[in-house]
């Protein structure tokens, strides 16, 4: 699809994969996604908003997630993102592709 990812420390396309994975456990708003990523990665993955929101828009655009307005913990309007069926399928496909890629990278790094 030739996605133009905004600069991040991740491999291209990885942020989308992580967001999709994060949403498997249920609907979250943007801050929730960032926090979930930070906590589950032991503070390694700190996603900036300038990368997160364009990525969410790309997911929306492709129909992999959908967004609904709701109320946040501090009683503000917040958009909650949920995974769609197409998103689940995409997650599976990207995950396989990611595994293949990581395997390949490790094999390259493993050779002396």
């Amino acid at each position: 699809m030739g996605l133009t990812n905004t600069p991040s420390d991740l491999l291209p396309g990885t942020l989308e994969l992580l967001i999709l994975k994060t949403l498997v456990s249920g609907a979250k708003h943007g801050y929730g996604i960032v926090e979930h990523l930070r906590l589950t990665s032991d503070d390694v993955l700190r996603v900036g908003e300038s990368a997160l929101y364009p990525a969410l828009q790309r997911l929306l655009f492709n129909g992999w997630v959908k967004a609904e307005w709701g109320t946040s913990e501090n009683n503000r309007r917040a958009r909650y993102y949920t995974l769609t069926a197409a998103g689940r399928k995409q997650l599976a496909a990207e995950r396989a592709e990611f595994d293949r890629m990581i395997g390949a990278i490790q094999r390259v790094l493993g050779t002396t």
Binding site: T6, G30, Y31, E49, S50, Y53, P54, N74, A78, R79
Partner: protein
């Protein structure tokens, strides 16, 4: 499809999305801030830190939105690039289709923009839908005054105007300017604001205007004659009337786009009616009840229908009539019927126009004709696109085989026709601007300048865009049929093995039949209009126009009192004769203006009683000096011409024409009879001569009963009603330009302030048939164009059919079929198409004939000669279109063909 829709939705809600994102990110920030506060930071520090962490919000929003915009553009760009590439691969096809559409759409747009500006476009005033025009024709000022006094009760106000031509002095020279007298509330009721200064007010139109003589000028006049100066208010305009100069103070400038309410005629200088008596002095028409010279419009009250307005108006009609009747100087018969026809208002949102009456029907006919031409053109393009799609079946099959969806393929093919239509429409707009200006110039004649506002307003643009879309759809549907026969892998099979009866040809066949049918209708129309024009131009005029030069001398613009004008024009005639012309004479009226001077009723011959007014049976009149019949080349059948002895004081004499004798004195000796007309106190004119018939108004009207009186016998007091007199000069062959110049010089020498225009009679003759000539010219052009397109369409399908059946034809020839047999084979199929097209076209023309009948002259709308001639022409074109490919087929070498297979 869904994503496309989503994208569009997204793009439409562009600003909304930005706000949403901003809010979303703000929520995000506040959540972070709270988390930081929980970690023990102070509120301010937490807010600050959270804001720093979040970074550049606008950039994040911009990036997020770009995701959508870029994608949408990307896809669009890719499709367009594919379509452009496809077209560039076949420049011939692209050129032909784009040129055809540019011409077709351009011609349609040109006609529509004229149609729009003449008939549809509302006046640029406040709420034009509530304006209504008092029908039919013109009214006198006393009638207007009575109506105006009641207008505010009956309606939301009313106004009157009268189109005029004023002579302004600019650097000492008289310059004629189109303008109008308007009533005081003209601008107020119309709702037209001033762009500089103020508009005219009721105070300006009163007997004692507070600011003296004031004028309002058009935006164009301000720009062109007053240099667009900001200090225009307060400047002086000098109106020259009867050798006197009247200074008018400019009080305001009208907004651009507003040229008055007469469509097709521009009013550059507007003066209040109150100025008229000052300018015209004793010639003033303001108080004359019987002089109809102004037009009246009213503004309906909100919610008031035309019917209710009419009822209200008719309620006061008798009051108006009673109020003005005492001032009417007319025969009792005329007075009895004066203002008794019920007054009628008509919606006038788009203004008033005499042009409209003349050109509405022919213009509509032409709009229909040009629409049909576009239809034929679209059929051709559809046919071409279809052939192209069929020829590209190989490529399309490969695309399908490689996983392209049918939807994607269809979109590609459709985008191609859409692209062609869009480029065609853009070029067509350029063509239309040029074409419509050209056409409008054709509408004008030397005595009437037509000026229509042809700016491309939204109506024209919507019309053109709709046309382009319709073209794209109608032409783009056809290739879809080709899609059905495309299947993956077919590229490997096929190639030249098709045999007769292929379904794909059915579509193109149907298109060709439609083309032939439409061309038939258009060629019939062209034939009928050409024959109309021919019969009109071959109509005997009854006089010889070729050697004539006509000079229109304005009497009102010179300062000679009415009683002395008779002597003055005779001096002018002497001056003209002295310049060495073969023959020169004066008349009160010029022939072939479409109108003239007529009696109100029939003529009473001898002692017969006067009949009541009947405009249908009126007698046309003219007044001439001796020698006019000789100058015009109208022979005298009996009696004598006027002589120098026929002067005021001698018994009134008249000359009548043969049509007059046929109506009033059949089988009698006209010479010596007497006649009276218009009123009981009419003098008795003695008929001294009978002239041959000559056309008076227009050739279409034929020979009308006419009587001439001696110019020198006219009551000097009557000269006040005359605005001009016509000097007709006969020139030697080839000398007309020279004579025109010499006469002009002689007249100027005799009277340096004289205002006149001159031209040759031929020019006027051409002008009388403007409408017929235009219609004949344009329908001829459209007919020929449609014929050409249909011929090309037929040729294309025959070529393709022959190519597709090469193998079959080769086989037949190898088996011994003679060349004539092959030709017959091709022709049999073409014949069916032509025959079907002719039958459809015949039926269509038969049905449509009644609509063109009113435009025809001396030609039946179902003229058998035109019908059979058109059929012959179409068959000839069809045979020609089929003959070339058929011959080529018959010359095929069977061996080569079979080896290819």
């Amino acid at each position: 499809m869904k994503t496309l829709f989503q994208r569009l939705l997204y793009l439409l809600r562009w600003s909304r999305q930005g706000a949403d994102l901003r809010e979303e990110i703000e929520t995000h920030r506040s959540l972070r801030q709270e988390a930081l506060e929980r970690d023990g930071l102070g509120a301010d520090d937490a807010a600050h830190a959270s804001r720093r962490a979040i970074g550049n919000v606008p950039l994040a929003i911009e990036d997020s939105r770009e995701v959508w915009a870029m994608r949408a553009l990307d896809h669009m760009r890719q499709d367009v690039r594919d379509a452009v590439r496809g077209l560039r691969k076949s420049p011939g096809f692209a050129f032909v289709t784009i040129a055809t559409l540019a011409l077709g759409i351009g011609a349609n747009t040109a006609l529509f923009s004229i149609f729009n500006s003449l008939l549809i476009r509302p006046l640029p005033v406040r709420d034009p839908g509530h304006l209504a025009l008092l029908n039919d024709g013109q009214w006198s000022y006393p009638v207007w005054q009575e109506l105006s006094a009641r207008a505010d009760d009956l309606f939301d106000g009313a106004f009157a105007w009268s189109a005029q031509s004023f002579d302004l002095t600019e650097g000492g020279r008289p310059v004629p300017v189109d303008g109008a007298y308007v009533s005081g509330r003209f601008f107020d009721v119309l709702g037209v604001p001033a762009v500089r200064g103020r508009m005219l007010t009721p105070a300006d139109d009163s007997a004692a205007p507070p600011n003296g003589l004031v004028a309002v000028v058009s935006h164009r006049f301000w720009r062109q004659h007053l240099g667009g100066a900001d200090d225009v208010v307060g400047r002086q305009l000098t109106v020259l009337i009867q050798r006197q100069r009247f200074p008018f103070t400019v009080v305001g400038v009208m907004p651009s786009g507003f040229d008055g309410v007469d469509v097709g005629r521009v009013a550059d200088v507007l003066l209040p009616f109150a100025a008229e008596p000052l300018l015209q002095g004793r010639d003033s028409a303001l108080s004359i009840v019987g002089k109809s010279w102004l037009e009246i419009m009213v503004r309906l009250k909100p919610g008031q229908t035309i019917e209710r307005a009419n009822a209200a108006l008719r309620g006061v009609q008798s009051q108006i009539r009673d109020a003005v009747l005492p001032g009417l100087r007319a025969s009792p018969a005329f007075a009895a019927r004066y203002l008794t026809d019920p007054l009628t208002l008509a919606p006038a949102a788009s203004g008033a126009s005499g042009l409209r009456r003349t050109f509405a029907t022919p213009l509509f006919a032409m709009v229909v004709a040009v629409g049909l031409v576009l239809l034929v053109a679209c059929a051709n393009i559809a046919s071409l696109l279809l052939a192209r799609a069929l020829a590209r079946r190989g490529e399309l099959s490969v695309r399908l085989a490689l996983g392209g969806t049918r939807w994607r393929l269809a979109r590609l093919l459709f985008l191609e026709s859409f692209l062609v239509a869009t480029i065609g429409a853009a070029l067509g707009l350029l063509f239309a601007r040029w074409g419509s200006a050209l056409l409008v110039r054709q509408l004008g004649t030397w005595e009437r300048t037509v000026s229509l506002d042809l700016t491309l307003d939204w109506r024209v643009l919507v019309f053109t865009a709709t046309l382009a879309c319709l073209c794209a759809i109608s032409a783009g549907i056809a290739p879809m049929f080709a899609m059905k026969s495309v299947a993956p892998g077919e590229a490997l099979k096929s190639a030249g093995r098709a045999i007769a009866g292929d379904r794909r040809f059915a579509v193109r066949g149907a298109l060709v039949v439609a083309q032939i049918a439409i061309s038939f209708v258009l060629v019939i129309a062209a034939g009928l209009f050409l024959r109309t024009f021919e019969s009109l131009s071959q109509l005997p005029l009854g006089f010889v126009p070729e050697p004539l030069v006509v000079v229109d001398v304005s009497l009102s613009a010179s300062g000679v009192p009415p009683e002395e004008r008779g002597a003055r024009v005779e001096r002018l005639l002497e001056a003209a004769v002295a310049s060495g012309v073969r023959s020169a004479s004066l008349s009160q009226r010029r022939l072939l203006t479409g109108g003239g001077w007529s009696s109100n009723n029939e003529v009473a011959v001898g002692d017969r009683p006067m009949l009541p007014e009947d405009r249908q049976r009126r007698v046309w009149r003219n007044a001439t000096t001796p020698g006019w019949f000789e100058t015009m080349g109208i022979p005298l059948r009996a009696g004598r011409d006027f002589s120098d002895r026929d002067r005021v004081g001698t018994p009134p004499v008249a000359i009548v024409n043969e049509a007059f004798v046929r109506r009033y004195l059949p089988g009698q000796q006209p010479i010596g009879q007497t006649l009276r007309l218009d009123s009981e106190d009419s003098p008795r004119y003695e008929i001294v001569g009978v002239a041959a018939d000559a056309v008076y108004t227009t050739p279409r009207q034929g020979m009308l009963p006419t009587m001439w009186v001696a110019l020198a016998q006219r009551d000097p007091r009557e000269w006040s009603a005359w605005r001009n007199v016509v000097l007709t000069v006969k020139a030697a062959p080839g000398q007309r330009a020279l004579v025109e110049r010499d006469v002009a010089a002689a007249l100027t020498m005799a009277d340096p302030t004289l205002v006149f225009t001159s031209g040759t009679f031929d020019e006027m003759l051409v002008a009388t048939m403007t409408q017929e000539r235009l219609v004949a010219m344009m329908s001829g052009f459209f007919g020929a164009l449609a014929l050409l397109l249909a011929g090309l369409g037929l040729y294309g399908i025959v070529v393709q059919a022959v190519n597709a059946r090469r193998t079959e034809i080769g086989l037949r020839m190898a088996l011994g079929a003679p060349a004539t047999g092959i030709v017959r084979l091709v022709f049999r199929r073409v014949g069916v198409l032509i025959a079907a097209g002719l039958v459809l076209g015949l039926a269509g023309s038969w049905w449509a004939a009644r609509f063109v009948a009113p435009l025809l002259f001396q030609v039946e709308a179902r003229d058998p000669m035109t019908f059979s001639g058109t059929a012959a022409v179409l068959v000839a074109v069809g045979v020609l279109a089929a003959w070339v490919p058929a011959r080529r087929a018959a010359r095929l070498d069977p061996a080569t063909v079979l080896r290819e297979g």
